[in-house]
Symmetry: C2
């Protein structure tokens, strides 16, 4: 409302007695300006307190230097960690994050709507963390030339990059750890049923179990939520013939499971039941839990994401990247 004073490029040009082109060039890294000219411009700019208007620049260059980031919910500490790293990495490259929180339980159509919204800001790229878009919109983005990378989700969409962990391997590792610990009645608490992470982790678990001549003892879904996991734990461990080990699809749920097991069902971990999670969120290391888990390489995933983004921004014809980061077992006390 009160855009009181806003110094523009032409005011600087006027004061410095040069053309607007000269001013523009001195603020464009790598443009050719004579040292003397640059100096005059800088002085005038400093005197006036000039700051380039990124919006105007975006309008002409078609590069906003902003990346839209959509994330579904921040309860799971994995995402705050990722967002922090991602934001900082992007800042280092001169980019900024336009953040978008989707309500979580939205249909693909809703997400599409929101995405259209952020697209209007001419974002240079899009990263969707734990969220998926429709194939229609994916095509739209591709047509518009804005690269999208799915973070921690993989969906075979044309032109959509994806960065994820080796969830199948992780599932196998979890199975392996449980088996080694002597568990024979192994249960699984699933995440959102149609999430690729969920599907792959379960797949790995079951594959390894079969190799060992075992089959899944029990299964319940926790929807990747704290409460969902509590409920799953109750149904799985409430009866007489209970599992002696459980793989929980992510740490956020695993912590909930540990809480319920101990405080509601009076079971000891790992003596009565071994539990293993996935992610290695900061809380897993807290002594109250000491959760054994499969670590996702958050830093590596973020770096890969940024790399794909930067490449795509500079060369349109980048072929689609599907990056799969290795995971590793972090042994602590819950198994």
């Amino acid at each position: 409302m009160s855009q009181i004073k806003t110094v523009t490029l032409s005011e600087v040009a006027q004061l410095a007695q040069v053309s607007t082109s000269a001013v523009s060039r001195t603020f464009t890294p790598g443009a050719s300006v004579a040292p003397a000219t640059r100096e005059k411009v800088m002085q005038a700019a400093r005197k006036l307190g000039y700051r380039p208007n990124a919006i105007a620049r975006t309008l002409t260059t078609k590069r906003s230097r902003i990346i839209g980031v959509v994330v579904s919910y921040l309860q799971n500490q994995f995402y705050p960690v990722v967002i922090e790293k991602l934001s900082q990495a992007l800042q280092r490259h001169g980019y900024h994050v336009l953040l978008f929180i989707s309500d979580g339980h939205e249909t693909g159509a809703d997400v599409d709507d929101q995405l259209m919204d952020v697209m209007q800001y001419q974002v240079d790229g899009l990263v969707l963390a734990s969220v998926t878009l429709s194939s229609a919109l994916a095509q739209g983005c591709q047509a518009a030339g804005v690269p999208v990378v799915l973070f921690n989700r993989v969906v075979p969409l044309e032109g959509v990059h994806a960065v994820a962990s080796d969830n199948v391997a992780g599932g196998r590792m979890a199975a392996q750890a449980l088996i080694e610990a002597g568990c024979r009645k192994i249960a699984y608490i699933a995440g959102l049923e149609d999430a690729s992470t969920q599907i792959e982790r379960e797949q790995g678990l079951i594959a390894r179990l079969q190799e060992a001549g075992l089959s899944l003892f029990a299964r319940a879904s926790g929807d990747y939520s704290y409460q969902g996991a509590c409920n799953a734990a109750r149904t799985l461990f409430g009866g007489k013939n209970r599992p002696d080990g459980v793989f929980v699809a992510n740490d956020h749920m695993a912590l909930a499971v540990m809480d319920t097991l101990r405080s509601e069902l009076n079971l000891r971990i790992p003596e009565d039941v071994a539990v293993i999670g996935f992610d290695n969120v900061p809380q897993s290391a807290w002594p109250a839990y000491a959760l054994t888990t499969i670590e996702q390489d958050a830093t590596g995933m973020v770096d890969a994401t940024v790399e794909v983004l930067m490449k795509s921004v500079n060369q349109s014809d980048l072929s689609v990247c599907r990056i799969v980061k290795p995971v590793r077992l972090i042994r602590r006390g819950s198994i």
Copy 2:
């Protein structure tokens, strides 16, 4: 790089056989367009897949509908919760969040630099969560007409709004709860020494203690970090004559304190020592902790922030708001 197809307003105008003004108006809520005209435009727009370019719009209207949000670090779950709520509330008003993560241990000058950076995007407002800016920059923002609200910090800067909790009252409540529980050797674990939250909470604690004829038994600083709090707990509780109760300046640290007290020092909570925190982050309610704490009204604070922002955007001469939300005691098992 590959801005393949981008439908513009004038293409729509051409197809619809109307002026660009007409198109612009049909996409401006509340502008006067004849129903028939609007219909023609809508059809053309739909056919072409037209989406208004928010950047171009911003350049002419001087309103970007984006709010810059700066937050120092997301380890403390209070902030992810706040960001989620804030982002959603803003979205409801048609605004978006340009997120900025500052490294945490930055000087005011660094924050200033980063802010100038986000200012270039012509943000309509700024919210600084757990971060402060220099008075020089505060004036700059004021001069530029962009309202800034300090979230969870209060600093007497000209023209800067602030939304915070009644930290003094909270400190008193904490003292009160500890006293009622029979504690007489009450310690305090401080946050970042120059944060207003830290100062006020301590102030309230000490005031109430004095009224009860007590003085602070011991004190250590935890810097609002998990590790810092662990160290503080060690020095405070490592000796023979230890406190029987402790007020920790925020939950994030309180959880760390509980962890060290129990797993390292073998102390029982609350039998050996009562602990109380501040914030009421989701984890405080987890059975492993069941932390008694002073709750900040995150939703109320966010709503107030959005309200101040929306008012400021629409009327430049809004007088400075210093909003202080009440807090309340949440009783759980740690006291």
